[in-house]
C-alpha cells in the first residue's frame, strides 16, 4: 500500500494540474466579468503600444509616432474627465473604434487603426470601454500633432477615407469553421495586422486587394512580410503548433520574431489564450496562397555574386556557424535555423541585413522569459562582408534568395533602430 500511494498521488496531482490549467484558460476571453474581458481585448488590440509613452503613465498617451507626414502624438485614453475620455459614453467609444471619428465628429488620423477596429463587435467595444473606465485617470493634456503642410489639414483625411476606409463590423464567412472565423476576426480586427503586413502607398493607404501582401514599414525600415505568400511569411507549410509558438512565445522551430513584431508579441500576443492563438494560427495558415514563381535572379553580375558568396562562406563559418550550424540548421527554437527560413529568402533582404548589422533579442514572454540574443555585427564586419554573408545565407543549403550588394548593406547602417 505505501509503495502504491505515491503513484496515486502523482496521478491525482496531474488530474488537478490539468483542471487548474483548463480553468485558467477559460477565465480569459469567456469570463463574464466585462472589465476583465475588456482588459483581455485591449491586450489583443495592443492599445498600450501607442497609448503609453516610455516611462509614462499607462494609457495616458503622449507617445511620439513618427510618420512620413510628420510626428503624431498618441492621446490620453484614461478616464480623466478633463484630458482623457472620462466624458465619453460607450456609444462615443464605439463610434471612434468603428468610424474613426471623435465624439464631436472630428476625424482621427489613420495612425489610429480604425480601418481595422471598425470590424470589432459592439459587445467587444463596450468591454474595452468598461475596462478603460476602470483604470486610474491620469490628468495629462494631449500634445499637438506636429505635421508638415499640407498634411496638417485634417480635411485631407476625408480623401484618405474615401479611398481606403471601409466601415463595417466583421462578417463571418459561413463556409469556414468557427475557429477560422475567430482567427480572422482577431487578425483583421483588433490585431490590426494589416497595418504593417500590407503594402502602404505614398498616400499612406492600402488597396483592399493588397491586404496582407507585405510591405516596408514606413519610418522603421523593417520589411513586414506578406502573410499570404509562402515565399515570405505565408504560413502554408507551417504546423499550427509552430505558428502558435511564434505568436505566443516569440520563438518557434521555424523562426523567431524580432524588431516591430517583437513589440507585438511582447505587448499583445503573449497574453492571448491558447484557443485564440490557435484560431489566429488556423486563419493565418488558411490565407496562404499557392506561391508565385521565384523572382528573377539577382541584378548583380554572376561573377560578383559568386565572389561574394565565397567570401560569405568564410565569414559565416567564422562568425555564425557556432550558433546557426554549418548547414544553417540552428538550434531551434532559441538559435533559429537559417536553412529553409522564409525570412532569409524573401525578395526583400532588409530584415536579414538588419539582423546581421544590429543583432536583436526576441521579446521576453511568459513562454520564453529569458530569450537568447543575436550579437550585432555592425562594428565587426565591413559592408562587403555583411553583403557577402547575407548573400551566402540567402543562397546556401537550398535557400532560394538572391545575393545582395555592399550598397544594400551600407544603406541599412543608418536605418532607425527605435
Amino acid at each position: 500500500m505505501p509503495s502504491r500511494s505515491p503513484i496515486l498521488v502523482l496521478l491525482l496531482w496531474s488530474l488537478f494540474a490539468g483542471s487548474a490549467a483548463e480553468a485558467q484558460q477559460k477565465a480569459g476571453p469567456t469570463s463574464d466579468n466585462i472589465v476583465a474581458r475588456g482588459e483581455y481585448l485591449a491586450r489583443a488590440g495592443d492599445c498600450i503600444a501607442c497609448h503609453t509613452a516610455p516611462e509614462g503613465r499607462t494609457f495616458a498617451g503622449g507617445r511620439a509616432m513618427p510618420t512620413p507626414f510628420g510626428t503624431l502624438y498618441s492621446s490620453n485614453i484614461t478616464p480623466d474627465r478633463e484630458t482623457g475620455i472620462g466624458k465619453w459614453t460607450a456609444e462615443d467609444f464605439y463610434k471612434a473604434m468603428h468610424t474613426g471619428r471623435f465624439p464631436d465628429g472630428g476625424l482621427m488620423y489613420p495612425a489610429m487603426p480604425f480601418a481595422s477596429y471598425t470590424k470589432v463587435t459592439r459587445a467587444d467595444s463596450e468591454a474595452i470601454f468598461a475596462y478603460l473606465k476602470s483604470i486610474p485617470p491620469v490628468n495629462q493634456r494631449n500634445r499637438e500633432h506636429d505635421l508638415r503642410f499640407p498634411y496638417s489639414n485634417r480635411q485631407l483625411i476625408l480623401g484618405w477615407r474615401t479611398l481606403y476606409f471601409n466601415e463595417g463590423e466583421f462578417k463571418p464567412d459561413p463556409t469556414k469553421s468557427a475557429e477560422w472565423n475567430r482567427g480572422a476576426y482577431l487578425v483583421e480586427g483588433l490585431g490590426h495586422c494589416g497595418m504593417c503586413h500590407s503594402p502602404i502607398n505614398a498616400l499612406g493607404g492600402t488597396a483592399q486587394s493588397d491586404a496582407f501582401k507585405g510591405g516596408l514599414i514606413p519610418m522603421q525600415n523593417w520589411y513586414a512580410p506578406s502573410l499570404t505568400s509562402n515565399r515570405e511569411a505565408g504560413l502554408g507549410d507551417w504546423s499550427i503548433q509552430d505558428i502558435s509558438d511564434l505568436l505566443q512565445t516569440g520563438v518557434s522551430q521555424r523562426g523567431v520574431v524580432y524588431g516591430p513584431m517583437a513589440e507585438v508579441v511582447h505587448n499583445s500576443l503573449q497574453y492571448l489564450s491558447d484557443e485564440d492563438t490557435r484560431a489566429m494560427a488556423v486563419y493565418l495558415k488558411g490565407i496562404s496562397e499557392p506561391s508565385p514563381p521565384p523572382p528573377a535572379s539577382s541584378v548583380l553580375p554572376t561573377t560578383e555574386s559568386s565572389l561574394l558568396i565565397s567570401l560569405g562562406k568564410t565569414v559565416y563559418d567564422k562568425n555564425c556557424a557556432s550558433c546557426h550550424g554549418a548547414q544553417g540548421e540552428g538550434k531551434p527554437p532559441h538559435w533559429p535555423p537559417l536553412a529553409n527560413n522564409q525570412s532569409i529568402e524573401m525578395q526583400s533582404a532588409v530584415n536579414p541585413i538588419r539582423m546581421v548589422l544590429n543583432g536583436g533579442y526576441p521579446p521576453g514572454t511568459k513562454g520564453n522569459p529569458m530569450p537568447y540574443g543575436m550579437p550585432p555585427f555592425a562594428g565587426l564586419l565591413s559592408d562587403n562582408e555583411v553583403a557577402a554573408v547575407v548573400s551566402y545565407i540567402r543562397t546556401a543549403w537550398g535557400n532560394r534568395g538572391t545575393p545582395v550588394s555592399a550598397r544594400d548593406a551600407n544603406e541599412l547602417r543608418s536605418a532607425p533602430l527605435n
Binding site: E263, P363, P371, P376, N418
Partner: protein, 254 residues
Amino acid sequence: MPIYVAIRNQPDPVLEGGDVFARNAALALAIATLAACNVAAAQTANQPPDTMAARVEACTPCHGNKGEGTSDVYFPRLAGKPAGYLYNQLLAFKNGRRKYPPMNYLLEFLTDPYLQQMADYFADQHPALPPVVASDASQEVLQRGQSLVTRGDPQRQIPACGSCHGPALTGMEPGIPGLLGLRPNYISAQLGAWRYGTRTAKAPDCMQQVAARLTEEDVTAVAAWLANHPAPVMNAPAPKGTYVLPFACGSEPE
C-alpha cells in the same frame, strides 16, 4: 501532502482492488519517464547551453566575452560593476532615458526581472583589469584631474569624486559604480552627456548636478587622471551603507 494523507486514511474498495491497475500504471509511468528522459537528453544536445553566458552573447561584440570591454574606447567594461548600477542602466536604455539606439533596440522588449539577471551576471564577472595605458595628457592636466577627483572644488561646489564613488574610487553597492579601469574617451563622453543633460538618472539626479558645474577642461582633466590611475587589487564595490553620501541621489536609495 494532504491528498496523500486522505488516500491513506480512507481505504477505497476500488483502490484496494486495484493492484493490477496500479502495477500497470507504475510500469507505464516508468516507461513514460524513461522516454521523456531520452527526449530531454536529445533536446539538450540540440539546444544552446542553458546559461546566462549564452544568453548575453549579444552583448559581447561591444563589451567583451565577460564584460571586460573591447578595443573600442567608447564601449565600457561591465564586469564587476555593482549589480544595482548595471540594472539601472539596463532599465534606462530599455525605457529610452539613456539614449544609444543600438542598446535601446536590443533591450526594448525584455522584462525587468531578466534585465536584473543580466546585471547580476556581469556584476559577478571578474576578468583581469586592463593595464593602464600611459596618458599623453600633460602633468598640469593630470594634477588638475587629481585635485578634482580627490578634493573637489569647494568654491565651485564640486564635491570630490571619492565622496560618492568611495575613497578607493571602487564604488558602492547597489548603485554607485567604480571609476577605475575605464578609458578616458568613455569617461569624458559620459561626463559630457551628464553636463549637457543627454544622460540623466532618477531624481534627485546628483551626477547631473555635479557635472553641470564642470567645465570642458575639468572633464578632460578628470578623465585623464582617472584613466591613468591603476585600480587597487581589491577593486570590488564597497558594501551598501559603508559611507554616507554628501547629498541625496536617486540612483542610490538610502
